[in-house]
């Protein structure tokens, strides 16, 4: 099982593909998402989003605010701007 991930900003689709783990920081604290996570909708604060792809790569992005939504192994992360870390 893997997660179908999309990290999008208003200007472009920053990252999309399959991943096995995602970590992000919401208002309530750090959050990790593994496959088969319950449907969730969270508000992100400025911080780092880490995506571990199925191919073993790990990518980190600096996001400034945004949202994360998880449902049916589909994760979308919306953010206003990203910076590659």
């Amino acid at each position: 099982m893997s997660l179908n991930v999309e990290l999008v900003s208003p200007q472009e689709r920053v990252w999309s593909g399959q991943a096995k783990f995602i970590s992000a920081r919401t208002i309530e604290g750090d959050l990790g998402v593994l496959p088969d996570h319950a449907p969730l909708f969270g508000v992100l604060v400025d911080g780092v989003v880490r995506i571990d792809g199925v191919d073993g790569t790990s990518t980190e992005f600096n996001v400034s605010g945004g949202f994360i939504s998880v449902s049916n192994n589909r994760v979308s992360i919306l953010t206003e701007s990203t910076g590659n870390k």
Binding site: V8, E12, T26, I27, E28, A38, L40, F41, S69, S71
Partner: protein, 304 residues
């Protein structure tokens, strides 16, 4: 060279110079449409995800957010008109402004006041010339709008919306947007849409298949909605600006193409006229020479 001929040649030179300019503008716009279209396409995933999120939250929460509830007795409505900074785009700006006028008339007939928010120098000039009140105006980015531009416009609108329209003169109860929808290279339509209060799930994004999942909200639905709705408005404004930019380039390309075609026609008919004038001059000279020779030879014949 005769005076007539010289006038024709001068006009031809000037038309040719104009044609060069319009041709260049046509080519520039043609290349910019593609870029503008790509930017619209690049912003679509974000807009779609956001729409999905807003409809999910709005469906599964009973929160009565000020941004989603309509005022019981609305007093004032804001209209955001998106037009061009530069002309030479045919009726592009005018169509948007006219659509805005119609919408304003409709709103006034409902007994509301209208507050105008304008994007693009053309709309601003139109309103200034007629001495109308402008609640807010932005210009200088109509052909390549950035998200920051959209954000500053959206922020002003949301602030006006959150202010109480009954007591505050700057407050509004409704926000409408007028922009030019980019359907294809050939078709662009000026459109008026209501942005606030939200009509959730009125976007043209594909309806998510199946039921939306029961989300857990972190921290809770109200906070999520509070954070989500301003972003949604920004994204809508941004999308409208990008579509308008693409439409502007398409309209300019079409206007410049017909200008170039007209210049061609004009050059053709002027060439005909110039040729006729030159021929008339030659004919006249010949008949003068023949006449002169005739007169000379008859005078000579008389003296002998």
């Amino acid at each position: 060279m005769g005076a007539q001929l010289r006038v024709y040649r001068r006009r031809m030179r000037s038309v040719k110079a104009t044609k060069k300019i319009t041709k260049a503008m046509e080519l520039i716009s043609a290349s910019r449409i593609v870029k503008a279209q790509q930017r619209v396409a690049a912003s679509t995933p974000y807009a779609n995800e956001l729409t999905r999120a807003v409809s999910a939250v709005a469906t599964y929460s009973s929160t009565n957010h000020p941004l989603t509830t309509a005022s019981e007795n609305p007093k004032r409505a804001a209209i955001l008109i998106i037009s061009a900074d530069r002309g030479m785009a045919g009726a592009y700006s005018n169509n948007a402004i006219k659509e805005g006028e119609q919408l304003a008339a409709l709103i006034r007939s409902r007994g509301l006041e209208v507050a105008s928010y304008l994007v693009g120098r053309k709309a601003v000039n139109y309103y200034r010339f007629r001495n109308r009140a402008i609640s807010g105006s932005w210009s200088g980015f109509s052909d390549t709008p950035t998200y920051e531009d959209a954000k500053s416009v959206a922020d002003a609108l949301i602030q006006a919306f959150l202010a109480d329209a009954q007591t505050d003169k700057a407050g509004v109860d409704e926000i409408h947007i007028v922009f030019t929808e980019f359907k294809s290279m050939l078709t662009q339509n000026a459109l008026a849409k209501r942005m606030l209060p939200l009509e959730v799930v009125e976007s043209d994004a594909p309806v998510p298949s199946g039921l939306l999942p029961m989300y857990e909200f972190e921290p809770n639905a109200e906070v999520v909605l509070n954070a989500l709705l301003p972003r949604y408005i920004e994204a809508r404004v941004f999308n409208a600006m990008l579509q308008s930019a693409a439409s502007e380039h398409a309209a300019r390309r079409r206007a410049m193409k017909s200008a170039t075609d007209n210049a061609d026609e004009l050059i053709k008919s002027l060439t005909r006229l110039a040729n006729a004038a030159r021929q008339a001059e030659i004919t006249q000279e010949i008949s003068e020479i023949v006449g002169g020779a005739d007169a000379l030879s008859s005078a000579n014949a008389g003296s002998e």
